[in-house]
Amino acid sequence: MNRSSVSRREFLGAGGAAVVAGLAGCSGGQGQSGATTDTASSSDVVKIGVLEDQSGNFALVGAPKHKASMLAIEEINANGGIDGKQIETYATDPQSDNQRYQELTREMINENDVDALWAGYSSATREAIRPTIDRNEQLYFYTTQYEGGVCDKYTFAVGPTARQQLGIVLPYLREEFGPKIYTIAADYNFGQLSADWVKVLADENDAEVVGEEFIPLSESSFGSVINNIQDADPDFVMSMLVGANHTAFYKQKASAGLDVPIGTSTAMAQGYEHRRLDPPAMANIYAGVNYMEEVPTASNTSDGGFVDRYYEKYPDAPYLNEEAETNYFSTYMYKKAVEQAGTLEQPEVIEALESGIELGTEHAPEAPEGETIKLDGATHHVDHHMWVMKADDQHNVEAVKNEQIPEQFLSETVGCNLPENTETTQYTPVDYFEEAE
């Protein structure tokens, strides 16, 4: 066999072709950039940067975020812009790649000079770009539901925290089904910290975690996990599984005949598993969320409501998810803050946001999740209207409980007060609760 020799030229040729292909892939992302013109001076327009995943691992959950931001910006521009200024959008696809996020964040700040930045799905992404954000004192909105605890002068983490999401669903399931909890969670910072919150909330609600298992993100076989749950025989399971591979758990538990109720902060509202999977995979699953398409509020589901407007702009969109709503209302919060501050200067806009921006029904359509939605100035978090959404064996979703839940960890336990103390820390429950250890 004499074909096995590879000449150096051939190798370089092939390698070069791969590099060219890789670059072509990158520029393809930039081709989707929504920037229209950059000749206008910064005082005539409001520059907003939107970095949301439209390809790669998080495309499924990131694409609705991008779309909802574009919807809010289009609506605001059509109604006269912010303080009479049109919004100019800089949107590039970071392809679910944290290194690309870091490059693009620098580009948004240094070259495009954006007035506010929305960026990132996962907590890992947020932590990858936060140092750059803080060094440049860039106003930044992080809109994903997350583990909580980020007390950062320049970051507004406006999605619900684990304490808010688990804090509505866990007490409900404790009441309905009993005190024994089994936790399954994705094996990285979000899953680990969420599992700690389950322990804290179990303690507060007179319940007990009888077992927990952390599952690598690459795993898609759940036979032993299902056996372990059956062995522990809990009253209900708390699931903080994440990503496409973990979605297989719900199919496999259904085919294995595991019918224990499952509470979750991750399934359904983000990746719309109840629409994608064949029933009854999601039967008896209870999601603790601030928003999903099915949330029965007037501003959401009425004619011309949020859902209608979204599908009018994007008729082929598969779902309107939890984070999309957060991108949407936070854009309106930013608008209100700029108008209150009377300037685009970021320190003044941050000060206006810290004064406690509130969106209510009189400002509908800005708060699809509930009557009012209020930014807490001290912690840069949002007092969300939270819902427990239950899927039945036909995958119909209904609301079984709802209430306003404030951010509690930073405000009550840690004492984060950003208008007084400028800091950029992420606090974790282990430092404050014995049960979490």
Binding site: M1, A18, N227
Partner: protein, 312 residues
Amino acid sequence: MVNGINLALQFLDSFAFIVLAAAGLAIIFGIMGVINLAHGEFILVGAYATTLSATKLGLPLAAAMLVGTLVTAAFGVVVERFIISGAVPNWIGQETVGRNLVEPLYDRLADSMVATFGLSLIMVQGARVVFGNSIDTVGTPFGNIAYGAFSYSTYRIVLSGVSIALLVGVYYIFTKTEYGMTARATIQDEETARALGVDTERIYMATFAIGSGLAGLTGALFAPTLSMQPTLGDQFLVEAFVAVVVGGPSVVLGTALSGGVLGAIQAVFTNLYGTFFGRIALLAAAMVALRFLPDGITGFIEAVQSRRQEGQ
């Protein structure tokens, strides 16, 4: 607590996953010397073709799986003609500029990796562009078997039976059929085989089609248990490459043995210490195997056999 039935079912599950993940890759690598980094995306083709023919065309699941397998095999032929052997571009080159345009990728490990890696990127993004970020899935058939406090999905157990049948079938093809004999002759000495009248071009094409078809079958079989999105092939890659490397040069025996050994190790550790440690144990076992058996399990067996023959 160790439950014997749980452990046994866990072993069957791991064994089936490893064997099915690796089979197509092992054949293409073992016989053609092509490392197919787009292996996961061939599985994706099988899974998508199966799911779409079940949900959109309304075919029964078994027929949909057959469609998935055949579509992937046909896709494999196209890839082989255009990219691996370059027959189609070369034919176009001969017709237009009067010379070959590309060299075949057989036995060019690094080059085949780069080419198929590019192919995998195109396929993942292509699937995303055409079908969106996910497609609706089909449910898992057959229900479950219950024993005591436990239950297990019947379908996952059926898969282990299928994986054994697949190994037997591949073994039969490569040892008892004329194609198998000529294919093995081509591996051993391509030039002599060609001198004796074997059409090695066709052997390579058929082999790539079989390997692709097996990847498609894997996608078809796992389609009812997984969520359907463009990166679904990734989850098979670690097991597939580890099994091929640990298995060594003999394709069928190697895949069977590495599936057995790695499956047993993964099952025991998963059962005792959870999924996370099951995965660590799998990778640790692969590292140990490579350190002490650099030619894999079957390479070690061959070395022992030849030493014994020399001793006689």
